[in-house]
Symmetry: C2
Subunit: 312 residues, 2 copies
Amino acid sequence: MSLDCLIEKICELQNPTVVGLDPKLDFIPDFIKKRAFEKFGENLEGAAEAIFEFNKCLIDAIFDIVPAVKPQTAYYELYGHAGVAALFNTQKYACEKGLYVITDGKRNDIGTTMEAYAFAHLGKIKIGDKSFNPFISDSLTVNGYLGTDGIAPLLKIAKEHDKSIFVLLKTSNPSSGELQDLKLENGATVYEHMGKMCAEWGKELPGKYGFSGVGAVVGATYPDQIAKLRNMLPGTFFLIPGYGAQGGKAKDIAAAFFRNGLGGIVNSSRAIMCAYQNEGCDESDFAGAARREVIRMREELRSVCAPISVQI
Amino acid sequence: MSLDCLIEKICELQNPTVVGLDPKLDFIPDFIKKRAFEKFGENLEGAAEAIFEFNKCLIDAIFDIVPAVKPQTAYYELYGHAGVAALFNTQKYACEKGLYVITDGKRNDIGTTMEAYAFAHLGKIKIGDKSFNPFISDSLTVNGYLGTDGIAPLLKIAKEHDKSIFVLLKTSNPSSGELQDLKLENGATVYEHMGKMCAEWGKELPGKYGFSGVGAVVGATYPDQIAKLRNMLPGTFFLIPGYGAQGGKAKDIAAAFFRNGLGGIVNSSRAIMCAYQNEGCDESDFAGAARREVIRMREELRSVCAPISVQI
């Protein structure tokens, strides 16, 4: 699914939200874990089964009101290859439900190796006469520290398969400025320079609504930088983490959006996955609580961005 | 295994080589693929079996003459979760053979997520009353673009488990300078600044031979930068990719080593894995060819660095 399709889904649902699927075992209701452990044992396989069941219920609860999900690879690798199989199953299920899937892997490497990541996450791999999907995503987050060589293979494979990437510019964490905010000789910051590279790479993946298939990760926790980058990169779609549990508020991200309500998609993970804990409702209602939080977030986002339309 | 143990193994074998295990299917002899496909089918599972068999034979051929192996995660993710299971099996086998295992994942994320990567790759995960190893490594390569938050969880878990990390400074690829070589206002380059952060993080993981558990990735393809960084970072051990197939020569990396022959470990992947293709010998002798290439490389490295000793 292309970034254009994501934009169309955002318009249709009037909701620029992506639900982060970062299923730590602590976040999962006991009844799901119990069932999974009874079936597979209290081990990595049991944990992986619990993760997948949890994700499936969350997806069922929200797929008709959000356009996208973002599984974070770390929380699957945490349960070994069984966990990674749960990542694949989650991606597949989300895809079948019509959701746009952003795999948050922040992958980065030299050209030949990045090509392997590109085939793995955005393309297919040929074995004998048949092709297989190692993983299933519409988009992959990447780190551009290695420059163009580390991005070019992704662009080629993304173009062939109608996929996209999001490059880290200004991340949401407290220490992101240690490197990203440093001023270069020419007066630009490191994250601004990365932004310029993003815009350049984006020329390879033009989109019909003015945004290229090379998006950028810009943290909700840095409103001034969002505004600056939005101004500097009009053709770059933003993936905005840091909303909710990390402290970013709706007003902080308002500058990401143009007058037609387009410009980015806002991630929330813990606040949605753990809504039942925050609400204090019975754990059996975790999916309902997640849906209520998604609706609350949607209304909050609507209050700061214009009705969303592909019209300029 | 700590970085100190790696250093002791390097001294014992008089060989600062790490063998990169990046098993693309094209690199694997047909007879191994045929056997694997007959057993599991010509699919991701069959490919994963072929990878593991290939790696096992390579490890058997070299474990007594090299101190370390470096599986690159991309080439396992390329075959989906079956491939990732082959990564785990490879790590486990290498570890049983006494090799130091560097998982080349270049992982990076915000603190809470990096903690999940740290548990996954350097620690253990508790499920119920038992602890499990999601993966098995002595060291993980990481990208420091997110600053201290994205490194701190690794330091904590590395300390608890006697593990280490290697942070990307100056990578071996042609475009690495696009960001890494940029000059900051204070006259330092981005990679030098990252180097200073590395040295700072290293204070958390002191080692008994003068090198901290926070190493740095510095490409063999950039000899001047190796010399500069060696001078600037006397307590930082280097992981040096780019030797061999990527064009780095032994003389290019000489500056990485101190007068006692210590200072870094040099990676070669394709030149070793594909030695049988380069030699033109029968594919049944691929492991022998790999061993011959490792010996050739060892002699070449010995010609540019002093006899290796922990004495200063």
